[in-house]
């Protein structure tokens, strides 16, 4: 059992290879692939931007709500009074 399937030929390939050459098709494939990649890249950036803007808008809106802060400056401290018996 050999590693390769060895085949013996008198000569490897006698004919010319021009008929297999098609640079235009290869270039077209390259450009089409590049265009697709660029579109995908653009869409990913666009989606990332939309998500980012969404988060910014959401957090900005959250800041605008006038929620009462748990500790407000200038407000007197709450004094807790416990009955003498609990102390």
């Amino acid at each position: 059992m050999t590693r390769y399937d060895y085949r013996i030929r008198r000569q490897l390939f006698q004919r010319r290879t021009e008929r297999f050459q098609n640079f235009d098709a290869l270039e077209q494939r390259y450009r089409s692939r590049k265009r697709t990649t660029n579109i995908v890249r653009f869409l990913i950036i666009l989606i990332a931007l939309i998500i980012l803007v969404g988060i910014l808008v959401f957090t900005a809106k959250a800041d605008n709500h006038n929620y009462k802060s748990p500790v407000t400056k200038g407000q007197p401290e709450v004094k807790l009074k416990f009955p003498q018996k609990d102390l």
Binding site: T2, R3, Y4, D5, Y6, R7, I8, R9, R10, Q11, L12, F13, R16, T17, F20, Q21, N22, F23, A25, L26, E27, R29, Y30, R31, R33
Partner: protein
């Protein structure tokens, strides 16, 4: 076709690569120059015209997509194309036994191995080749099947010319010793 172009041809190749990195349309001269070499290299490993044409196209397509990151190191682009072609062939034969076509005419042209080839049973020669590791087999292949010069092989394998000569000499010596052992057994 020689792999080692003269200085001006090498400069020409560098300018083609630089131009192709800017606009892929300029890759065409390189494609035309090396298509035949790559096709034959792949054909030796496929023994199938249509498959060799497909894998050659795939090799050049991969080269075009990776050309932007290619850095000129003063050696012909074909060395890089060979690496890509070999990977494409390996990928194709991932689950199958790879093919290797031995070109008898080439062996008969090589003085060092012609006599062995003529006297030895072909199966024995294949068994002998099969005992070599991939790196050793590649040197035999480049020298005797692809007919590259020592200088060309040195460039492709990133070795010095004298190191390639020494390695091949030792390899042939080892093969001959192996053959003698077989003959003694017979």
């Amino acid at each position: 076709m020689s792999l080692i172009p003269d200085h001006s041809a090498l400069q020409q190749e560098q300018s083609w690569i630089t131009a192709a990195q800017k606009d892929i349309r300029n890759f065409e001269p390189l494609y035309r120059k090396y298509y035949d070499t790559i096709f034959r290299f792949i054909f030796r490993r496929t023994d199938d015209e249509a498959l060799a044409a497909d894998l050659s196209s795939q090799t050049f397509y991969k080269a075009m997509t990776k050309l932007k990151s290619y850095q000129w190191q003063g050696k012909p682009l074909v060395a890089w194309l060979y690496t890509i072609a070999l990977n494409e062939v390996k990928k194709h034969y991932r689950d199958k036994k790879p093919i290797f076509v031995i070109e008898e005419n080439k062996i008969l042209e090589a003085d060092e191995i012609r006599d062995e080839w003529l006297h030895l049973a072909k199966d024995d020669m294949m068994r002998l080749l099969d005992e070599l590791n991939d790196a050793d087999l590649q040197i035999i292949e480049l020298k005797y099947f692809e007919s590259f010069t020592f200088k060309e092989i040195a460039i492709m394998l990133e070795m010095t010319e004298s190191a390639v000569k020494m390695k091949l000499y030792r390899l042939l010596k080892r093969l001959k010793e192996r053959l003698e052992v077989w003959h003694d057994k017979i």
